[in-house]
């Protein structure tokens, strides 16, 4: 088959040559195939045929037909163009056996032959046009006249404008020649070389003519080179790309150098890697351009030669898109030069908020890579509680603290490193989740959080592997964090409530430190009273501890959980000289890890303050009740009453009555205060706190609820900042009440003494019988009295009673003033609950009316 083809080929070629030669010179003698002329021609033809093996224009029959049509139309042969179109369509439709397969080749052939003919026919010495001189049209415009006549004139190479000129003297030709010479003269350097230099500049390399000028800070064409100004400007514009490239490359190599020095973090590295990827794309483009720059434009006619494919204009078109990208990269490099970590990601994200699709796509690609280390860190923090942050780029910083402050101070947010696409609330949740895991691991010795993490990840649709999250998937990140947070929080609260019995401990603190366990407190007060009246430095804490134990055992407290009772103990505060036991005694509760996250030192101090206040209140109450015990109408007093002379009777009555009245007032005040504290303050706050404990979702909530609980107690029991004055007056009142107690004691003691004395001096037998119930003060004292007789007794009694009366009077007056002062301050207090106190104390408006009357 091949042989056949070859033979056919040879035959056809021979035939062709024969025909052509015979056409040429029909009269010549060299017609036989064996003539030397023929042979020479044959050889020549063969040479030409074998040299051009591949066509340089794309084989598209339609395109060629189009160009032929256009050519015809341009040259004024529009009717012929139409005919041609018609013919072509018919020609093209012929398919099947017998038709021409290579239609394109035929058309092309015809076109070129006709062109050549027209060219050759018109002017054999037609000079070659320089097709890349664009101003050619303008130049020729002067010499042309538009006319419809075609008398041997030439047609120009216009691209759509019909220009037919009458130019018999070849003026245009001469002009072209001159122009070409001029251009050659001005251009010392050919465009080709300039293009190559620009390509070098775009890679940051100095070319032969275009070098980097450090003063000007750009790539410039040295002034010594003679090029027209237009070219110079164009070169400048193109070299901006080179300058930008230099900047970006400089940043990358800088960062790479600094990396071992730990100045550039993982995010910075990712950024450099992404930039380098973009740059490699850019290199590819430049490589293609460079290879193109060596190729000439494929023109098929031999008579015209062309310049290089790549001119400066073409280059500027090709480089437009890389220029935009490079500019973006340079802007980013500038912004991120000093930033690291999350701040860098945030800055780039801000830049990515751009309307242009190209820009936003580009930024998105960059950001995906830049943020991947950040997202990794978030993932490992949220699912495992690990903080692997060597270069401190993460927005959560941890520090070494003791176990008890792990929750509050162990980790915090570093807002400088927080990128903008992670909102603050999300960051808080992230912080809390990781903190909880660490807390569980360190303080609670709990390992159950790992399953929660797995569950969370599966629920959110990602896995716990690395690299499963990326930028732009903030939604996925959020859902992962929400799931993780939910589960971990629940787990943490479970652990707190169930394993560490948080609620029970809170309740225990309330019962013991806040004196909720009434019987225990009563008993303790009873047995500890005599101890604490001693000066502080004589009291031993062991004894007190023993008393505490016995108090626990004799009250309902003994049925409590031993773990709780373990933690209750006596605390002796540091005392100075002159302190009584009352001032230094307190109870304390020992919270251990992990509960001491909630019951920190400061919290326990607050509890201590409340305890002291309540204890004092109880003490005063106890004192008053003791006075009441003494003030019962008993036989001693009545006896004394009967025994005394008339003169002393009235004072006695008066004194007693005064005492009673004062006692009542004080009791009323104290009872109401006590009730207020017990019910309105402690119980109500506790109820609120229990409600909040039910609904608390995580440890932060719990902490806040507890703080609120404590603070409200402090405020309402006048221990807060705003109630200082009130608090002072309250304590003065307490002191007053205690003084009253001692006075009352003295009064009744005195009465008893009188009684015993009078009892001794009068009918002894009768009194002895009755005085079986008396208290015998001390027989030694009576001896000095017995001799005085009744008058002396009465005198003495009168004196004593008068003294007592005066004392009581002054006490009463003081008390009233103080109470008034106290009550007047109550309404101006901010706290609404103190109004309830006022209401209780002044239920019948007795005091306010008193105040009004006085005014």
């Amino acid at each position: 088959m091949e042989e056949e083809d070859q033979q056919k080929l040879t035959d056809l070629v021979k035939e062709l040559i024969l025909r052509l030669l015979s056409c040429k010179s029909p009269n010549s003698a060299s017609q036989s195939p064996s003539s030397p002329h023929f042979q020479a021609s044959l050889r020549y033809a063969v040479r030409i045929l074998s040299s051009r093996l591949t066509p340089s224009v794309a084989p598209d029959a339609a395109a060629v037909a189009e160009s032929i049509k256009r050519h015809l139309a341009i040259h004024g042969k529009s009717s012929q163009a139409l005919t041609f179109a018609d013919l072509y369509s018919k020609f093209n439709s012929k398919t099947g056996p017998g038709s021409i397969n290579n239609k394109w080749a035929v058309l092309y052939l015809l076109k070129i032959i006709s062109e050549d003919r027209s060219l050759a026919g018109n002017d054999p010495n037609y000079p070659s046009l320089l097709p890349n001189i664009e101003c050619f049209e303008a130049e020729s415009g002067d010499k042309s006249r538009v006319s419809r006549e075609r008398e041997g004139g030439r047609v120009g190479w216009d691209k759509g404008v019909l220009l037919v000129s009458k130019d018999p003297e070849n003026l245009r030709q001469l002009a072209f020649k001159e122009y070409a010479d001029l251009v050659k003269e001005e251009n010392e350097v050919s465009e080709e070389l300039l293009v190559r230099d620009v390509l070098y500049a775009c890679q940051g390399i100095d070319g032969k003519y275009v070098k980097y000028g450090s003063i000007v800070d750009g790539y410039i064409l040295s002034d010594l080179v003679k090029v027209p100004r237009a070219t110079r400007t164009m070169v400048r514009k193109l070299c901006e790309l080179g300058w930008l490239f230099r900047k970006v490359k400089g940043y990358i190599s800088d960062s790479m150098d600094r990396f071992p020095g730990e100045d550039v973090g993982t995010v910075g590295q990712a950024f450099c890697a992404a930039l380098q990827d973009e740059l490699s794309e850019y290199y590819k483009l430049l490589a293609v351009l460079e290879s193109q720059s060596m190729n000439p434009i494929p023109l098929v006619s031999e008579s015209a030669s062309s310049g290089n494919y790549l001119t400066l204009r073409r280059l500027s078109v090709w480089l437009a898109e890389p220029l935009v990208k490079m500019r973006l990269m340079a802007v980013l490099v500038d912004k991120c030069r000093v930033l690291r970590g999350g701040a860098m990601a945030g800055a780039i994200h801000l830049q990515a908020q751009h309307g242009d699709l190209l820009v936003s796509e580009f930024m998105k690609r960059l950001l995906t890579r830049v943020c991947s280390p950040l997202f990794e860190m978030v993932r490992s923090w949220v699912l495992e509680g690990e903080l692997e942050d060597i270069f401190s780029e993460f927005f959560i910083v941890g520090q070494q603290v003791k176990a008890e402050s792990l929750w509050r101070e162990g980790y915090r947010l570093h807002s400088g490193m927080l990128p903008a696409f992670i909102s603050n609330s999300l960051a808080q949740r992230i912080l809390r989740t990781g903190k909880s895991i660490n807390f569980l691991r360190v303080c609670c010795d709990d390992r159950g959080w790992a399953e929660s993490a797995m569950e969370a990840a599966s629920a959110a649709g990602t896995t716990t592997r690395r690299g499963s999250l990326g930028y732009g998937e903030t939604g996925a990140l959020e859902s992962l964090i929400n799931e993780a947070a939910k589960r971990i929080d629940r787990h943490l609260l479970d652990v707190m409530y169930n394993r560490y019995k948080f609620k029970e401990h809170c309740l225990a603190i309330k019962r013991y430190l806040l004196l909720g366990q009434g019987d225990f407190v009563q008993y303790l007060m009873d047995i500890i009273w005599p101890e604490l009246s001693e000066p502080a430095n004589t009291i031993s804490s062991f004894k007190l501890a023993g008393l505490l134990e016995s108090a626990i055992r004799s009250s309902n407290a003994q049925y409590d959980d031993p773990e709780i009772l373990d933690r209750l103990r006596v605390k002796m505060m540091p005392h100075s000289a002159g302190d009584r036991g009352w001032d230094v005694f307190s109870l304390e509760y020992d919270p251990r890890v992990p509960l001491d996250t909630i019951f920190t030192e400061s919290v326990m101090v607050k509890y201590l303050r409340i305890f002291n206040f309540l204890w004092k209140l109880r003490r005063v109450e106890h004192a008053l009740i003791g006075a009441w015990k003494a003030m019962k109408p008993n036989s001693i007093t009545s006896q004394a009453f009967l025994k005394l002379q008339r003169a002393a009777k009235m004072p006695l009555l008066l004194t007693l009555r005064k005492c009673q009245v004062l006692w009542n007032e004080m009791n009323h005040f104290l009872t109401n205060l006590q009730d207020y504290i017990m019910f309105e303050v402690l119980e109500v706050s506790w109820l609120n706190f229990s409600h909040e404990m039910e609904v608390a979702k995580d440890l932060d909530d719990l902490l806040m609820a507890h703080e609120k609980y404590l603070n409200s107690i402090l405020e309402k029991s006048l221990l807060g900042e705003r109630s200082r004055a009130l608090h002072k007056s309250l304590f003065i009142l307490f002191d007053l009440i205690l003084r009253f107690r001692s006075h009352a004691d003295r009064l009744y003691e005195g009465i008893n003494e009188l009684q015993t004395r009078s009892g001794k001096s009068s009918l002894a037998s009768r009194d002895n019988k009755k005085s079986g119930q008396q208290r015998n003060e001390g027989p030694s004292k009576t001896s000095s009295w017995a001799s005085d007789g009744r008058k002396a007794l009465t005198q003495r009694a009168g004196e004593f009673l008068r003294n007592m009366q005066n004392d009581l009077d002054s006490l009463a007056k003081e008390y009233t003033t103080l109470l008034e002062g106290f009550l007047s301050q109550l309404p101006v207090q901010q706290h609404v609950d103190l109004k309830f106190l006022m209401f209780r104390l002044d239920f019948t408006e007795f005091y306010s009316r008193l105040g009004v009357n006085k005014c």
Binding site: T10, L12, R19, C23, A40, S41, I113
Partner: protein, 72 residues
């Protein structure tokens, strides 16, 4: 060659001849048919045009001394 194919071929040749006349290539029917056959066989049309041009310009150039070359 069956008549159908022959007819197609003749018509194609006619069309091509008319097109070539419009374009004023100066080729006669027979030469054109030879050229078409050569194109169909796969020769480069650029090369063929070069041959045509050169051989037409015969009078200008004397037969050059050519080194023998291999035929593809």
């Amino acid at each position: 060659m069956d008549p159908e194919a022959a007819r197609t071929a003749r018509e194609s040749l006619d069309l091509a001849f008319q097109m070539s006349n419009i374009l004023d290539t100066g080729l006669d029917r027979h030469t054109l048919s030879v050229l078409i056959a050569l194109c169909d066989l796969g020769l480069n049309p650029e090369a063929l045009t070069a041959v045509v041009k050169e051989l037409r310009r015969e009078p200008f150039s004397s037969a050059p001394v050519l080194p023998p070359s291999s035929f593809p």
